[in-house]
């Protein structure tokens, strides 16, 4: 594995390995001295074209705990408006001598385009409405910590699927790990061509949350962004919650062993009630803490730490 651009870059073996290493990293995190020397002398640049404090700091801590030199570069705002092309921006950063580039970009495909221009390992830290593979890894990691092996488990992903990068990566990784996936959303928030896509990729989809709910082992609720409310995707927030929110009633219909995930940040009261978010089986905070361990594992595998260790 040279880059991590998509969850599809991971075979089942590779995914299992990353998750296993993440578990070891997670143990390190609980130690008093958290640093491992494995990436000493290596440089990791967080190149963020879009703000995301959570993801950026997670990668930053991950790199530092592996003893890498971590540099944050904010290239916020459209590079087009600054008159500098993506290639120029990336080449400038790469010229400083970089081993790994962690890229967050508001446009789908940008990290994979970057791989044509640089030698560094590229990690997609979220691109447009495309993918966010480390989020999927940490989701899988967290779900496994409660549910065990995900093979044959039923995971529902509910919410604004069209505009979510989380869903695409999760869908691919969960299928790789053998889970059954059902996507749930109103038709206006389903990715286009969903029927063909579902057929080819072997997952199911539904417009009816209540029908799917009693079968689930995990409910992954996605954020519904404020701008969708004026985009005509659904009539009112109230109607959305009634149809697709994880309400108190739905919480009761969800099997007792089932876990609740949300990649955050949450709109409490819209896609998820406060009760659900704070329940014992809600893994939302576990997801955050797993984020660092998973990203340590990814950097370690990409930068050949495995050979050195």
């Amino acid at each position: 594995m040279k880059h991590l651009l998509s969850a599809a870059d991971l075979s089942r073996d590779e995914a299992e390995q990353i998750l296993a290493t993440a578990a070891q990293m997670h143990d390190v995190q609980r130690r008093e001295v958290k640093k491992l020397p494995v990436l000493r002398g290596r440089t990791v640049v967080n190149l963020f074209f879009e703000d995301s404090t959570r993801t950026r700091s997670s990668f930053e801590i991950a790199g530092k705990w592996l003893s890498a030199d971590v540099i944050n570069v904010s290239a916020k705002g459209s590079s087009v408006s600054k008159g500098e092309s993506l290639r120029d921006t990336v080449m400038t950063v790469a010229a400083m001598g970089v081993d790994a580039l962690v890229i967050r970009h508001h446009a789908s495909g940008a990290p994979s385009q970057v791989t044509q221009w640089v030698d560094a390992a590229v990690v997609n830290a979220g691109d447009g409405t495309h993918e966010h593979p480390t989020q999927a890894l940490l989701d899988a990691y967290t779900m496994r910590s409660k549910l065990g092996d995900l093979a044959g488990r039923r995971v529902g992903i509910i919410g604004d699927l069209t505009h979510s990068r989380v869903v695409r990566s999760n869908l691919i990784l969960l299928r790789t790990l053998g889970a059954e996936v059902t996507l749930v959303a109103p038709p206006t928030l389903m990715p286009s061509g969903i029927a063909d896509w579902a057929g080819a990729a072997g997952f199911s989809y539904s417009y009816d949350f209540d029908e799917v709910l009693p079968e689930l082992d995990a409910a992954m609720m996605l954020r519904v962004q404020k701008e969708r409310m004026t985009g005509g995707f659904f009539p009112t927030p109230r109607e959305y919650t009634v149809g697709y929110g994880l309400t108190r009633e739905r919480l009761r219909a969800l099997p007792e062993h089932a876990v609740i995930c949300h990649p955050g940040p949450m709109n409490r009261g819209l896609e998820i009630t406060a009760d659900a978010a704070d329940e014992a089986r809600s893994l939302i905070l576990d997801q955050v803490s797993a984020g660092v361990a998973v990203r340590m594992s990814v950097l370690y595998h990409l930068l050949g730490g495995a050979e050195q260790a």
Partner: protein
């Protein structure tokens, strides 16, 4: 001193070997001709067509001379077998006045490789609000007959209606970039479907084109005017156009080489070379477009040649400029996907790439039959040559060539504009 050329043994529109004698800009003899001091052009194995006419070329002059100039675009056109091109109005400043149109016209004549015929904007500044000075452009030295806001759709139904009515006074035509902006906004960059869903690219649904085509043919019927649909890209649009023609509505349509050949799966690499507007469509649409070109529902092939400087393409896919080059490979693409598979004869290629475009654009000196007494605008193609396209060898200033490294069948050998070679044995004249 007259210049004469004797084209020996050309396959005339695929109908058999003839010699063509050209003297002083005019075809003087067709048949078995002996050279009388004329320069001989050996055309053994080559097909002769009337010089090609492109209804849809973007030259970037004025405003973006780093991407293309009238001169470099003319060279690319000559290399592709064209003798006339229509230059779109979306330059900077916009071609929305008589003076601007005359300037483009003059630059083309000065270079002298192809006749550059300006297209006038429909609305001032392409803003879609007020009509540009259509009549003054029509009366100018450039004698503008085609009007288009291409790059933008004339989406205001009332403005479109007025434009259609107004151009009737001078036999003009409105060429529409059909894109309902509420259904496919500026961010739309990938055919809406399974692939756009999977790649997370903003969708450009076919219906955004089809609703405008449907509306415009009804407006053309209401006004009794001519409407031309630029770069038709979907089977649904073809269906509407077919119906409109059956009703006697004066609609014509063009299809681009790339929409005839390249499908939406090219986008899986996120390579901005393949970012074009309207977007590449699925194979089912491509099959319908080929059929419609063969049966005459689509009237013409037009390139939508859209050169871009490298740095305007080296952005994230969704932020890169729309458009790809077209002039140099158009005839090769048509040969590869239409002629070789038996969908079009060479006589039909002459219709869709020369005769009909010239008629739509009101260019009387182009798209003429290859007969004695006609202006000597013609092109020679070697239909059997196999060519691996080298995008770096282009005459265009830009390198956004979607056929780079692909193998096409056919090579344009020679182009004559009014009896003078503008391309001779694949070399553009200086």
């Amino acid at each position: 001193m007259s210049e004469s050329y004797l084209i020996k043994g050309a396959d005339l529109l695929g109908a058999g070997r003839q010699d063509v004698l050209v003297d002083d800009g005019v075809i003087t003899e067709v048949g078995r001709v002996t050279a009388k001091g004329a320069t001989v052009i050996d055309a053994d194995g080559l097909v002769a067509l009337p010089g090609l006419v492109d209804l849809h070329t973007h030259l970037r002059e004025p405003g973006r001379e780093d991407a293309e100039t009238v001169a470099t675009g003319s060279a690319a056109a000559a290399a592709g077998g064209y003798t006339a091109i229509l230059a779109m109005a979306n330059t900077s400043p916009v071609t929305d006045t008589a003076e601007a149109a005359e300037r483009v016209f003059d630059l083309g004549r000065a270079r002298g490789l192809v006749d550059v015929q300006p297209i006038g904007a429909v609305s001032k500044g392409l803003a879609g609000e007020e009509l540009a000075e259509l009549g003054l452009m029509a009366r100018s030295r450039a004698a503008v007959r085609v009007f288009s806001d291409d790059g933008h759709c004339v989406h205001d139904a009332r403005l479109m209606r007025r434009a259609l009515e107004y151009v009737k006074a001078f036999g003009g035509v409105v060429s529409q970039h059909a894109q309902e902006p509420r259904l496919a906004d500026k961010s739309a960059c990938c055919h809406e479907g399974e692939l756009s869903g999977r790649l997370g690219l903003p969708g450009w649904p076919g219906v955004a084109e089809e609703v405008i085509v449907a509306r415009d043919v009804m407006l053309a019927r209401h006004t009794g005017s001519r409407v031309h649909v630029a770069h038709v890209s979907t089977a649904g649009s073809v269906e509407v156009i077919r119906w409109a023609k059956s009703q006697g509505i004066a609609v014509t349509a063009e299809v681009t080489p790339h929409h005839l050949m390249l499908d939406t799966t090219k986008l899986t690499s996120y390579d901005p070379t393949y970012k074009v507007n309207p977007p590449l469509r699925p194979a089912e649409d491509i099959a319908e477009l080929r059929k419609a070109l063969a049966d005459g529902t689509i009237d013409a092939v037009a390139t939508d040649h859209a050169p871009h400087a490298r740095h305007d393409k080296e952005h994230a896919f969704a932020e890169a400029a729309f458009g790809m080059l077209g002039l140099e490979q158009a005839l090769q693409v048509v040969n590869t996907v239409m002629v070789q598979p038996g969908l079009l004869t060479w006589a039909q290629v002459a219709e869709v790439m020369s005769v009909t475009p010239a008629r739509i654009a009101g260019l009387t000196g182009h798209g003429r039959p290859l007969e004695a007494g006609e202006p000597a605008n013609l092109t020679l193609i070697d239909p059997a040559a196999t060519v691996t396209v080298d995008g770096a060898a282009s005459h265009s200033l830009s390198r956004n060539n979607p056929w780079h490294d692909m193998t096409l069948t056919g090579a344009v050998q020679t182009t004559l504009l009014r009896g003078r070679p503008t391309l001779l044995d694949q070399e553009v004249s200086q």
